[in-house]
Each structure stands twice: as C-alpha cells, then as structure tokens.
C-alpha cells in the first residue's frame, strides 16, 4: 500500500490504490462540528473525484512543464471547508517532480459553464503550456472546451451511480426511464436487486440474502414482504411479464433536451426560476372599488428613506388628498389623506413590512370623500416644464409602487443622461395580478404617464415590458402605442425575477448595471406600471397618491379579487370582504409569495407599495446542512454565490461576505426558493448587509 493515502481530510473514505485495484476502507467516523447531524448518523460525502495515483500522475507529467492548475471545490458534500486540499497536494507533488507551475486557482462548480467561462478569461498567465484540471469529468470537459491550451485530468471521477435526489440519501434510483415502483410496492428492483431483475427473484437468495452480495437483503424478498403487508400479492401475480427497454435512455435525446431547457433558462439573463404562477385565481377578475373603510391608518413610512413628519393633530378635520405628512429629507416623500374625516390619533402603529410600530396618522372617515381644495388638474402636459412635472410627482408623494418604495421624483432627475425608460409590467411574482389589471384597464393613463416621464427626462424611447403570460395586456398596449413613434411594447418570456431593475435592463437592453451602480449608470430608468398610472393621475386630476390597485388572492382566500384600495385600509377588512380564509392553517403575506413580507397580525394598513395580500398554505421545514448542490449559484440572477453568505454569516465574517459582493444581492429569494436544504439564506444575507452597513 502506498502513494496517495491522505489523512486529515473530511472525506469519510480514503482510497488506496494497490496493484491496480481499488480498495476502499472506512475512515474515522465523521467528527466535525456540524450540529445538524445527529449522533450515529452520517452525512454521506458524494465527492465526485479523487486525485490519480502518484505513478499515474508522474507519467502524466512526463515531458510536460509550465503547468497551470485548476481545481474544482467539489459539490454534493458537506460545506465544511472552503478550499479542498487536492489542489495543494497536487502542487506539492508537481514541485517534487521539479515542475514549473505558472499558477493555480480553485473554482466552485467548475461545470457551471457561465461562471467558469468568465473566470477563465485572461486567467492563464503567459508561458503556460499545459492546463491541469482536478475535477470530475464534467469540469474537465468544460475547461477542455474553453481553454485554448492542452487540458489534462489529474483526477478520476468516482463511480457513484444513481445518487440522484437532492438530499443525500442512499443510492435508490437508477433513472431507468420506466419506473417499476408501482408493481413492486415502492421497492426498486433495478437498484435493490443485484441483477436488476424485474419479474421476480432469481432463486439464488440464501436466508434472505443476495447470492451476489451476502451483505445485501434480497430485494425481491423485500418486495414480497411489502406487497404481502399491503395485501397486493394477487395483483402482482397478475401482472404481465415486464420487459426492460434499454433504448429508453437515449443520451442523444436527453442531451438535446437538456440543451434546449438550458437555453430556455438562461434566456435573457443568467439565473432566475419558474415558480408556479397560479395567477388564474384573479387574473380575469375586473377591478372593483373597495368599499370605503371607516378608519384608515396612514403610515408615515411608506417609502425608502426618512419617514415623513406628521403635520396634523388629533381633532383636525382633513379632506381627501390633503397632505398630512411632510417629506423630511432628499430621499423621503409626503403622505396624504385618503379619506375626509377627523384625525383620531397620531401615534406609532404596527407597520406591515417592517414588523414594528411606526408613526402613523389615524383618520376616522365621515364617508363623504370631500376633496381637498389643493386637488386641482394641472396645466396640459404640453405646457408643463420638466421641473414642474418633477414637482408635481414630488408633491403627490409618488414612490415606486412595485414594492421598493423609492421616491419617484428622485429617479426622474438622474445624475447621468438617460436614453430609455423601461416600464415594468412584468409582474413576475406568482399569484399577483394587480399590474396586469392596471395594464388592461388604465392603458391610456399609462401612455400619458410615460409621455410625462419621457418629457421630464429627455429620454428618446419608452419601452413597456410585459411578460408573455399576459397576452391580453400585450394586445391592448401594443394597440395603444402603435401610433406613437417613441414607445414600444417588449414581450418577455416569463421568468422570475424579471421585474427586478437590473435583470429587466439586462433582458431588454442587454446592458449590465455595474456592481453597486444604478440603472441611470447605463442610461435607463425603470418605473413600475402602477407608479406611472399614479403620475398620470397627479398631472391630470391633481390627485396625490392616496389609493392603489392591489390583489387579494391565494389558495386560502375564499373569493379572490383585484381592488382599488384606499391607502390605510386594514388588511383585516380586505380579507373579511373577500370571504375570509378557507381554513386556519394559513400564511398571510403582504406582496407576493417570493418577496412578500409575512404578516403576523392582520391589523396593519395597506401602503403605497402594497401590490397584494396573499393567503397561502403554510410550509413547515427544518433547516438541513448545506450539501453544496450549487443550485443557489445556478439561479442567482446577480451571479453571486449565496451558499458562502450562509457560511460566512455563521462565522460572522462580514468582510468575506462583502468581498463576495453581498451588497449586490437584490433579495429576490431565488436561492432560498431553490435551496434543497431549506436554509433561510436571506436571513443570513440581511444580517450581513446590516453588519457591513455598520462597518462604514
């Protein structure tokens, strides 16, 4: 026994090469610090490669010099070490052999072609003659396709057939393409039977053990017992003889298929996911004015930036559209009354999205909806100057209504010249249909609002972006803009988070907003459809932002719908009006299922950014250890590595998080959605962002 016996590794197995045969022995039981693993249980390590033996390596290196080494950080194993040791081991070996190494790099998920391609650009230093790759066969082939130098493998892929499933369970499916489990009571004859027999036992079993491997239970005895227990033996005996069709697994067909789904998935921008849309609950329900609430609670903090200062007192009489809170800084917005009536309280009240009490003005409506005298139509658009329009938008308290709540007047005065305005009508969040209805029912207002923005910013073109799951809205808008030279409709294939500013710009314009930058850095402003409708209202009727369109939906809402709702209306009233919940086991969120905020009480008011209230089924899961499945990296539209954020947050290593660009995260939750270990990744990201902001 000799050569590459490695110690001190996290692997559960060490491999010995001996006389050309492989021997595997069990190494010391895993004793790491991960507290998810119960005693007696082991997380299996599905490391996909191991270094070739020293003899093989020395013959490989014979006559080759000036090596560049690329090592994959492995996948499907517990995420305990950032760097895998194999690269250093190889470098040591190469040094012993007197080889010149021009450099080395360790890469995560080498088979992720998009990321690898970017990392490999200009990576190979001058003078490199040979590239050595330490990875499974997929990584090696990815590099061989990309590098212009000869590529050599310093590792062998390990033969673990059939470990599919995302969680690391035992080998249980061989992907035969003709599932036999229905006949066999859920025990797989392909994997569990040494001979993969599909029509019953071979007769060779002794005392219930397989004749091929005496450590293995006879699969067909297991199948028999399971079926006997369920009283299905008769059913089994009546089955026709099964013939396994080996042509069902046709690599070419599968390869072509995978190629097409990858193209589809990477369409427009990297990453993103396709959660079930479930928009059918409410997409065809026309807008309805929500009955006037008796009391409204108007929060002073409905936008990004400093809260507004209340300018009314208890006992004051107010009217619809009257300013009740004054903006208190450059990034802030005024707040207006949505009803006419009496101020009954000016005090902190529970806030829907922050989860704590925030200053609010509580108004009891007199039911008359008397307009405030300041609510007057402005001059025609043609006569308004850009500064006048910005002032109208500012005074109307208009903020981004897609949820972020950034004051719109600030956006309209970008620091850099802007050539294109993108109107975000994607509504990529599942379930929500508010913007969809606005597009259908307020098309003229949207065109008017866009005209105003174009005039204000001097941009040449306005593009209304709508996802292809809203064909009726596309048709309506296309007709509206067909006679307008500087407006068009862009139809985007559905993918979440299409509506996020940066992904939208990449998808439509092919421009990439730099890390830490704003859309204006690439000459674009993005505004939400509902925001544009509010701008149109502010100019045409003089009405500030006091109501909005929102969807009340979800599988647990009795009667879903789309409503025009006064800001400050209680969520409880909305739910009651919609017939309440179907049962008690319900999760209520303000916003959509992906980015919405869970509500712990229904006694919170609707705000300018509340595009919906959803009531959905609860989901109870327990966080499992990260297995480096790499899916979070695969779906992150900002091209980050979310798995590192979880690890670094646990270590409170904020600097490392910053270095991994955590500040670029848009909190779209794709990573958390796709996580096979159900890790609340966003909590770690938020903690990191807060700590980094504190570092400054």
């Amino acid at each position: 026994m000799e050569s590459n016996f490695r110690t001190g590794l996290s692997d559960f197995y060490c491999f010995f090469y001996c006389m050309g045969e492989k021997w595997k022995i069990k190494a010391d039981k895993y004793t790491g610090s991960n507290n998810f693993i119960k005693e007696g249980e082991q997380l299996e390590n599905y490391t996909k490669y191991q270094l070739k033996s020293n003899e093989e390596l020395s013959s490989l290196l014979e006559g080759k010099d000036n090596l560049y080494v690329i090592a994959c950080n492995k996948c499907f194993k517990e995420f305990d070490a950032i760097d895998e040791p194999d690269c250093d081991e190889f470098l040591k070996f190469a040094a012993e052999q007197g080889k010149t190494v021009t450099g080395s790099t360790k890469v995560d998920f080498l088979c992720n072609k998009m990321h690898t391609e970017r990392k490999l650009q200009d990576l190979l230093p001058e003078g490199t003659e040979n590239v050595i790759v330490i990875s499974c066969g997929l990584g090696i082939q990815t590099v061989a396709d990309l590098a212009e130098k000869p590529v050599y493998a310093a590792s062998n892929s390990l033969n673990y057939r059939g470990h599919h499933g995302m969680a690391l369970t035992k080998k249980s499916c061989d992907a035969c393409a003709q599932c036999y489990l229905n006949i066999t009571g859920g025990v797989c004859p392909i994997v569990d039977c040494s001979k993969s027999l599909v029509n019953g036992q071979c007769g060779g079993a002794k005392n219930g053990k397989c004749e091929v491997d005496p450590n293995k239970d006879c699969a067909w005895e297991k199948i028999y017992q399971r079926l006997a227990k369920q009283g299905r033996l008769e059913e089994f005996l009546n089955q026709p003889v099964q013939v396994r069709d080996f042509s069902k697994v046709n690599f070419k067909v599968i390869n072509d298929y995978v190629k097409s789904i990858r193209e589809d998935r990477l369409n427009g921008y990297y990453g993103g996911v396709h959660p079930s849309e479930r928009k059918e609950f409410s997409e065809h329900i026309a807008l309805k004015k929500f009955p006037d609430p008796k009391t409204v609670v108007i929060s002073m903090s409905q936008h990004l930036g400093a809260p507004a200062n209340p300018i009314v007192q208890v006992g004051d009489l107010v009217k619809v559209g009257q300013k009740i809170g004054e903006a208190s800084g450059f990034i802030s917005a005024p707040v207006h009354s949505s009803v006419s009536g009496t101020v009954v309280a000016v005090e902190p009240r529970m806030h829907g999205t922050s989860g704590r009490e925030v200053m609010a003005v509580v108004i009891e409506s007199d039911g008359k909806n008397t307009l405030h005298e300041s609510v007057q139509p402005h001059k025609p658009l043609e006569e308004l100057t850009p500064d006048e329009i910005i002032n109208i938008v500012k005074e109307a308290g208009i903020v981004g209504m897609g949820g972020a709540g950034f004051p719109t007047c600030v956006k309209l005065k970008p620091a850099k010249p802007v050539d294109t305005i993108l109107l975000n009508g994607c509504e990529c969040e599942p379930l929500l249909t508010a913007d969809h209805r606005v597009l259908l029912e307020y098309a003229d207002d949207i065109v008017f609002g866009l005209k105003a923005i174009l005039k204000t910013t001097g941009a040449e073109k306005g593009i209304i972006v709508i996802e292809d799951n809203k064909p009726d809205a596309i048709e309506v808008m296309q007709e509206k803009v067909s006679t307008i030279g500087n407006m068009e409709v862009f139809v985007a294939r559905t993918k979440y988070p299409q509506g996020a500013e940066k992904t939208l710009i990449k998808r439509v314009m092919g421009r990439k907003v730099p890390s830490g930058g704003l859309p204006a850095d690439v000459g674009v402003i993005v505004d939400n459809i509902s925001t544009v409708k509010a701008i149109s209202d502010a100019i045409q009727t003089g009405m500030p932002l006091v109501e909005r369109v929102a969807t009340v939906t979800g599988e647990k809402i009795k009667n879903p719908g789309n409503f025009i709702i006064k800001i400050g209306t209680s969520v409880r009233e909305l739910i009651d009006y919609c017939g309440g919940f179907t049962d008690d086991d319900v999760l209520v969120k303000m916003g959509g299922p992906m980015m919405g905020f869970p509500l712990h009480t229904l006694d919170v008011p609707m705000m300018k950014g509340s595009n919906g209230i959803i009531a959905i089924d609860t989901d109870e899961t327990k966080e499992q250890p990260c297995i480096k499945c790499g899916r979070c990296v695969d779906v992150c539209p900002m091209e980050l590595s979310p798995l590192y954020f979880v690890k670094y947050a646990k270590e409170e290593n904020w600097q490392a998080m910053k270095d991994k660009n955590v500040m670029d995260c848009v909190e779209c939750r794709c990573c958390q959605y796709i996580c096979s270990s159900k890790i609340p990744i966003i909590d770690s990201i938020k903690a990191g962002k807060n700590a980094i902001r504190g570092m400054k």
Partner: protein
C-alpha cells in the same frame, strides 16, 4: 437532478380507477424538468372524477425529514386514500413509500438520467463516472460517452462519413478525438498502451 416525464395516461388511470387517491407533487427538480402543465391537467381530471382526497405540492421529498414534516398535517387525507400517487423522480417515490409503509404508493412519472447530474448544471455532454478518466489520452473528449460503444482504444471502423454506425445522427466520437488531438499536436497520444476498462464499481470493491 433528474428529468421526469409523466407516464402514459392509460397507465395512470389503470392505477387510479375506482380508488381514492392522495396526490403528492415534488417541485424540487422543477428547474431541470418537471411536467407541471401535464401533471396539473391530469390532476384536474382526477379531481373532477371526485376521487381525490387531497393534493400537496412541495419540494425535495427525497429529504425524508422535511418530507415527513410536510406530510404530517395531511395524514387524515392520506389515510382516507387507497392510493398515494407521487409525481416525482424514483427517489422521491421510494422515500414516500418507505414512510407510508402500509399504503400503496405509486409513481406517476418515469425518471430519466440527466447528463451531468453529479455536477451542478445539467450539461449537454455526459460524464459517466467510469472511475478511470480517459480524457488525458483523448484531448478532453470522453470516449465513454461520445462513442456509442464506449471504446477506449480507438474507433471501431464502422463509422460512415464521420457518423456513428449505431446512431447515424451522432458524430463518431473517435473522429472527434482524432481531430482534437491533431489540433493540439498530440496525435502521439494514440500510441499509448492499450487501455483496459475496469467495470467494477466502488460498491464492488468496498
């Protein structure tokens, strides 16, 4: 990571005929492929027949702990059913079958291998994890997967106009290897000793 495809409708209806059914959908690998539309349609029909006691849509049922947590609150409806119909890969069906040992648990899907499942992203070529990487001898093109016959010592001689004799739509893997080696000036690699493929799996040599 797996590709799943719905079984033929007749197969599924023969399973469910006259039975009360509880349905479990697994969306864990949906981003690779899950026949969502077809599954929804089929389930609508089952519901219309009035035999469905409940439908759960969840993810990663191959993770037993979370699968149990999620099924717990549906146990009444599961008990009511004669059959639990699982729309997932074979791993998921078996995980549920093991948990619900007394129930008939059936698969509504067939499972296909995803090229590159052991990596992160499904790729258009495949590593067969043969355990003896040949890529050094072949210019980075895998003879195990690129050649229909997985030959490791050169072409079989049966290719016609560069196409494989087994599958005429497939390029001959060894012609590709030859061209790649020629490009990088390493045709000498073809003179390496004869390779012998060891078919033993790691399980066999445990």
């Amino acid at each position: 990571m797996l590709i799943t495809q719905l079984k033929a409708k007749e197969t599924i209806t023969s399973l469910t005929a006259g039975k009360k059914v509880f349905v479990i959908n697994c969306h864990g690998c949906k981003e690779v492929h899950f026949p969502e539309k077809e599954a929804v349609e089929l389930q609508k029909e089952l519901v219309a027949e009035g035999n469905v006691t409940g439908i759960v849509t969840t993810d990663y049922i191959c993770n037993p702990e979370n699968m149990e947590l999620r099924l717990k609150k549906h146990m009444d409806k599961i008990r009511e059913a004669d059959l639990v119909l699982v729309f997932s890969c074979g791993v998921g069906v078996q995980t549920v079958a093991e948990y619900l040992e007394d129930k008939t648990v059936c698969a509504a899907c067939d499972t296909y291998p995803v090229p590159g499942f052991q990596g992160v992203t499904p790729l258009e070529y495949k590593c067969d994890q043969c355990g003896e990487c040949y890529l050094n001898l072949t210019g980075g093109i895998c003879p195990i997967t690129a050649c229909s016959k997985s030959l490791v010592n050169g072409q079989c001689g049966g290719s016609k106009n560069g196409k494989c004799e087994v599958d005429s739509e497939m390029e001959c893997g060894w012609e590709r290897i030859y061209r790649r080696l020629e490009e990088i000036g390493r045709l000498d690699l073809l003179k390496c000793p004869t390779q012998i493929h060891n078919f033993a799996t790691d399980d066999d040599v445990k």
